[in-house]
Symmetry: none
DNA sequence: TATGAATGAGGGTTCATTCAT
DNA sequence: CATGAATGAACCCTCATTCAT
């Protein structure tokens, strides 16, 4: 029973991720999501409060999963430079393997009223904190310059990588995203020295 | 007469910029824009084809103005490093002085159907080309590393700066954006070496 | 279930017939039709594509029904003169019993862009062909004059009857339409001899 | 001055006739009529009360002119049969020479709320009375059958001719209307005997 | 739980009419 | 008299949400 409930919730979230990514929040009708999930329109409201709740949940589960993945991987890294490399590698690989999430990110992350955006940023912050931890440790280890403002640096890092991903998507994914890991990492690490 | 027409066009564009920035494209009702501009709903359609046309025009005028400003300023720069500094300075200063444009940028730039997005990218590309020119020249001058892929580097640069601006806006502009010019420039230039 | 769907489709068509007949296509607001049908505005769009689709469907069902009725009746007629009489009788009787259809006919039949008109003429042509068949057979049987141009004669016939109906409606139906069957038939048959 | 006023009134009426005929009442925007007439939108309201007033006036002037023409011609006819022939000839010839009026007739004559239609029928009645006079005289002369109900016969006559004109227009005027005078007249006269 | 038919508020756009110049 | 910019009411259609089954 509980199992069934999770299955259906999942089906809806999967469907929503796809439809949101393809059409954006406004272009994603509930009926489209329902059809994609193989349930009735009304059923969706048994699992979610409203359309916004679906989007929020999609973000939460997605980002939680990604953050967990990154956390695990960072434990294996030996030094700050390797950690930066790992972050970029994990991010690019993950996006190349989960294109819907990548699209959702650029299509939706920036288009909402401040209110909703704050709700969403709640789920990005663990990811951001991971980056900041790496930067902080790198600073303490002497790998990065001592006057580095960690939060600001995190924004520069994330912004740069995010833009690379966006451009790749907008181009229609005509080239490999992971092939850009090395050159991107070089830029980032040098910038932090 | 002609003067009056320009005035009204301008009033509508100003209003539209504000309302689009505050509510996004979908949340911006024509009636809201009209009220803000101090005209009747129908009047807007004497100056613009439709809602999309307003957004497009806002982008065009806005970005054209900014690009012109940047072009002029870049002529005065002596070397590649100074040019990078100038780009960041002009961008941050402009955004701090034109908050609506800044908001519009993060709220709208990425949320539209591909068709409209291509229309818009038409107006961002001159700006991007300016950055690329600087990078190319810097490469040739030996200021940046020789294996730099110009387009990719432009994305890294723009993404990093863009994210700094976004974060500043999302924070509610609680700190000064221009105060971040130096630290941002340092990151960018080092990354390019 | 299916039953219910048909009922609602029918209710909307009935309402539409009435409202179209009273106000014409342009004067017939969807909300008026919805109210008359006892449904919400949006419900109409669950059964029809758009306003035009409603009108088209009204015509189709209406004219199909009438043509069927006439076809059946014509099978029983013995000669050409009787057939002409039957056509007039069926037409006048039908219109007297279905006033809305009569009104719709004169209010709407001729007022639309060519495109829509062609769509509609699709449903009138079976009726016209029935008349033409009668005329052709009458010609062959020697009941009508041999140099009769069938299509032209059909227009004369239909026009004459149609005008009688129109005048009757415009008069406010102050007299009986069916009482004019004999005199009308006499005119038509003599004209064809 | 007075002359000028008439000129402009005329220009507007000519333009309105054309635009109404081409697009129907609802499809005929005031701005279209104004442009066609070579005046400003507002100017139209110096000469007419509103859009409906323009249509009404177009009908009045048009039909008055035609009725006058017919009156003159009927004076020359020697007998009832010749008069019927004359009516058909004048009507078909006039319509072939004034296509806009012909179109206006079928596009508009039947599409209006009863109120407006009665206003218009005011201007058609002189024409109808002319036909009725011919029929009455023919009855008295013994040219037509004695039990002929004049009004009813007029409707049959007019309806038949009107339909021939309509079909001709709808066909795109691919054949000559006047070539149908003889066959039409034959039908009408025989029907009246 | 699940369904999907029904709801009805909301919004972009048109265009007859007005009025300041 | 003439202009045409401005007005704003009106209307078709969409779609998130509800609720009877």
């Amino acid at each position: 029973m509980a199992r069934k409930k999770i299955d259906k919730t999942d089906a809806i979230l999967q469907a929503a991720l796809k439809v949101f990514a393809e059409h954006g929040f406004n272009g994603a009708q509930i009926s489209k999501i329902a059809k994609e999930a193989g349930v009735a329109d009304g059923t969706i409201y048994l699992y979610f409060q409203n359309k916004e709740d679906i989007l929020t949940t999609v973000y939460r589960t997605t980002l939680t999963g990604f953050t967990q993945l990154l956390t695990d991987r960072l434990k294996e890294t030996l030094n700050a430079d390797a950690a930066i490399h790992a972050i970029c590698e994990i991010l690019f690989t993950f996006m190349e393997e989960n294109v819907h999430i990548a699209y959702l990110n650029i299509v939706e992350l920036r288009q909402h009223p401040m209110e909703l955006r704050k709700e969403i940023s709640q789920y990005t912050s663990p990811f951001f904190r991971l980056i900041e931890d790496v930067l902080q440790k790198g600073k303490e280890e002497g790998a990065f310059r001592p006057n580095l403002e960690v939060k600001h640096a995190r924004r520069l890092l994330f912004g740069a990588m995010d833009q690379v991903i966006s451009s790749w998507l907008i181009s229609g994914r005509k080239y490999s995203l992971t092939s850009l890991i090395e050159s991107t990492t070089e830029f980032l690490i040098k910038g932090l020295k």
